[in-house]
Amino acid sequence: MTPSCYRKAANGLLRYAQKIGHPDRAPWIRAMAAETRSIKSDFGALEFALGSFIAITKETLRMQRFEPVVRWFLVCSSLAWAAGKIYLVVALWEKSVATPLWLTAILALEAVVYAASAFSLLTKKYLLFCVFLILALATNSALFGFAQFQFLLVDFQPAESLTWYFAVISEEYFMWTAMLFGALVILALKNFDRAKAALLPSMS
């Protein structure tokens, strides 16, 4: 006897639930699948599977609520910084402000680094995100250092927008710290169970 399309859909839904479901709820998904198989009516099985799928989706979202909130906050922060850098480069270019090439280059590089860090977060590569943040920190430190050097030795007079930029650059360090901390929190949360099992086998 071949399974009807209802039965196939029910099985497909529960297979998908197994993929997306939170690992802690895996036995429950197996239990739901077993119950669905025990239902004689194909349509009844589909109805039961649909409800089970909704339950697992809701449960998974509830259990992972912390991660997406922090992740999206970090994505938005990174994109905001990237946009800020791009805006500054374009503004300097359009206003034909006398800006050293190295400064424009570092600003552009920073925009790329921030955009890349946002992308790494979207793909849930938290370690890569930390690497990008450290890279952004390095480029900004270089920018800050070179700028100070330029002010002192070459008597470089920055435009108003640049003065503003150098004023907020220290704020950016706080932002990095917050972003790095957020990424590390996510990494710690994601690996908490594994770390606990490795460090404290008797408790897990």
């Binding site: 036995p27 699948a33 119950e35 025990s38 109805e47 039961f48 089970s52 909704i54 339950a55 449960e59």
Partner: protein, 104 residues
């Protein structure tokens, strides 16, 4: 006075259904039919009660070969105590309604 737990009507219905048959193990689908709760409502409640220690669950071997093992559920002693407490509250409310108490 102890703070009253905020328990939904669906959870109360499930607890009462399980409380009426203490010691009996129930399959999820049977519980769904018994309480009239859809699986989308029933399973989150079962998971929550299980997490909180009010529900015991175990795998039961299938009656027929080739079928998967199924999960069965029943109340723990804590679950029975909670259900008894809810039953008392429901009875008290029913008496109050019967005597014409007006609730806001």
């Amino acid at each position: 006075m102890a703070r009253r737990k905020n328990i939904s009507k669906q959870t109360q219905r499930l607890l009462m259904a399980l409380f009426e048959t203490p010691g009996q193990w129930w399959y999820g689908y049977e519980l769904s039919k018994l309480t009239g709760l859809k699986s989308g409502t029933l399973y989150p409640i079962l998971m929550r009660l299980d997490d909180q220690g009010y529900l015991a669950s175990e795998w039961r071997d299938p009656d027929l070969p080739g079928k998967p093992a199924r999960h069965v559920y029943r109340l723990t002693s804590e679950g029975k105590a909670l259900a008894a407490q809810i039953e008392t509250t429901i009875d008290a409310n029913n008496i109050g309604l019967a005597q014409g108490e007006v609730t806001p």
